[in-house]
Amino acid sequence: MTSNFPAKIEALQRDALHIRRNVWRALHAAGSGHMGGSSSAADLLAALYFHYLRQRPDEPEWPGRDRFVLSKGHANAALGAALARAGFIDDSVLDQFYAYQSSFGMHPDIKMPGVEMSTGGLGHGLSVGLGMALGARMQNMDFRTCVMLGDGELQEGSNWEGAMAAAHLGVSNLTAILDYNKVQQSGHVGEMLDLEPMADKWTAFGWAVREIDGHDMEAIVEALDALPLAPDKPSLIIAHTVKGKGVSFAEDTYLWHNNLVTDEVYGRALEELGEAE
């Protein structure tokens, strides 16, 4: 750990705050949106885009780039905020959320620079990411693939096909990051269709698993720096997060999975989040 590590962590925390504020900005521009899952993922996205992923925003199709797939596509506002801050897209795009003919809709569109796969239908990203990881291995390329999963979407069986195959094929260049915020559209995950014991399931499927606090930037960075968690297995980081993190009235409730963002709501959210710089 270098001596500037605390400064690095503080910078990433500022990136995360920037993403959160821009999530609310995009949703306010659209009038509504998925603040809950976008806010829970903000710290993870900040660490990915501003610490871990090797990418070239001015050359988004660079073949050697690390791939990131947002399988929980409804958190696209957060992805767009990260892509804008990283320089893949212009900051003004964030005001075009849901807009007529916009490249920035509710869900990621592969046509937007920096977006590696169109997602939104749940339970797709892990298999696509597995294909990317296999593409790297077959072409002797050293890029890494990260897939961000939502917890609710793990109720889709396709994920478990992908999990089984990734372990069977031994793709250590594939990492899944679970934004485990415990809330889905209609209630708490544990009450809707429980996924526990989460770590045991993935371990049994042949993955190397680490659990962290998904809002502890130091822990996130340490986990990413430890990848791959095993030499010949895919890695899973279970990041325990809070739905709607950072805005008290939106935290840990399905009511703010996707909701209207009026001027008043927007003002209160920004006030709670605080200034970015």
Partner: protein
């Protein structure tokens, strides 16, 4: 005894069989494509022997991914591979690779516009004895409605070879519907010119046109030849590419013969007949008869008997032609 020495295996003969079984011709083409392009990779959904890929796997173990009986994952892997510049060829059963993995096919492949080739064996009612779970008689309707998708139903094994090789030139995804484990009569010449999107004119008649695809092409030719002796000149088009449809060939047939019969092993809604009818309704309303399966789940039985039951044969095509000319 090792597996290769066991009696009753098809593998020692499979290259010979590829001459008249489209699924095996497709498998041969996978090997040829892989030989030409190091980015080509086959994906099996527990379909290695269905496509005759055992030999390919043995000589190219790194170029075939066995995804198991998990079509959703197989389709997602194909999409992900394609994004990295690989040329995945997904080998599946027509009823499962369309319906089971439909959302992955729509989102990850068609919507994301990835160059994935889908070989779909046992299309139509090839597996008639297996029941409705194994019939693929809505696949063309599904695939036709996918933007960016090329949809091909080769008339025989030879045409399958050409179609598979020409997918090299496509910029987007493609679907090639194939037969099953029995012989398909050759109806095209191995040296015949084949171009995706361009119908084959097999008989030049001017009284009525039969537009057929897949296993209905042979009965269409037989019907035309039989009607010729009654003085009826039947034009026969092998419409191997359902999408993009050869508009010029259809419109010329409508203008020059004034009556059209479509014939396909698919429900009459949404497939070849649907594509032709939609075009003609817009551009040149023409009297039609559509031969295919009705709006019901097909009965069980030997494929030939079930085809006969639903009138997927020469006699039905002749009757439809006569009906239009009456």
């Amino acid at each position: 005894m090792n597996d290769a020495q066991r009696p009753g295996l098809e593998r020692p003969e499979w290259e010979r069989l590829a001459e008249n079984q489209s699924r095996l011709a497709f498998g041969l083409a996978v090997g040829e494509l892989a030989r030409r392009d190091s980015q080509v990779v086959a994906i099996s959904a527990d379909t290695i022997d269905l496509f005759g890929l055992r030999g390919f796997l043995e000589s190219n173990p790194d170029r075939l991914i066995e995804a198991g009986i998990a079509e959703q994952n197989a389709m997602g892997i194909a999409s992900g591979l394609a994004t990295t510049g690989m040329r995945p060829i997904l080998c599946g059963y027509a009823p499962f690779i369309t319906a089971r993995s439909l959302e992955q096919l729509r989102n990850d492949v068609a919507y994301a516009h990835q160059r994935v080739v889908i070989g779909a064996a046992c299309g139509g009612i090839v597996l008639a004895m297996a029941g409705g779970t194994h019939h693929a008689v809505e696949d063309l309707a599904i695939m036709r409605n996918m933007p960016n998708m090329t949809v091909i139903v080769p008339a025989d094994a030879r045409q399958t070879w050409h179609a598979a090789l020409q997918t090299e030139q496509l910029d987007g995804p493609s679907y090639i519907r194939l037969g099953g484990k029995f012989e398909e009569p050759p109806v095209t010449d191995i040296a015949a010119d084949f171009r995706i999107g361009q119908a084959d004119l097999l008989r030049p008649g001017g009284d009525v046109t039969v537009i057929a695809c897949g296993c209905l092409v042979a009965p269409a030719i037989a019907a035309a030849d039989a009607l010729a002796s009654s003085g009826i000149a039947v034009r026969v088009l092998n419409m191997h590419t359902i999408k993009p449809l050869d508009r010029e060939a259809v419109l010329a047939a409508a203008a020059e013969t004034g009556a059209i019969v479509t014939a396909e092993e698919h429900r009459i809604t949404g497939g070849l007949g649907g594509a032709v009818a939609e075009l003609l309704a817009r551009e040149q309303p023409t009297r039609m008869r559509m031969i295919g399966l009705p709006d019901e789940f097909a009965i069980v039985g030997p494929t030939a008997k079930v085809r006969e039951h639903y009138g997927l044969d020469q006699q039905a095509i002749m009757d439809a032609c006569r009906d239009l000319l009456a």
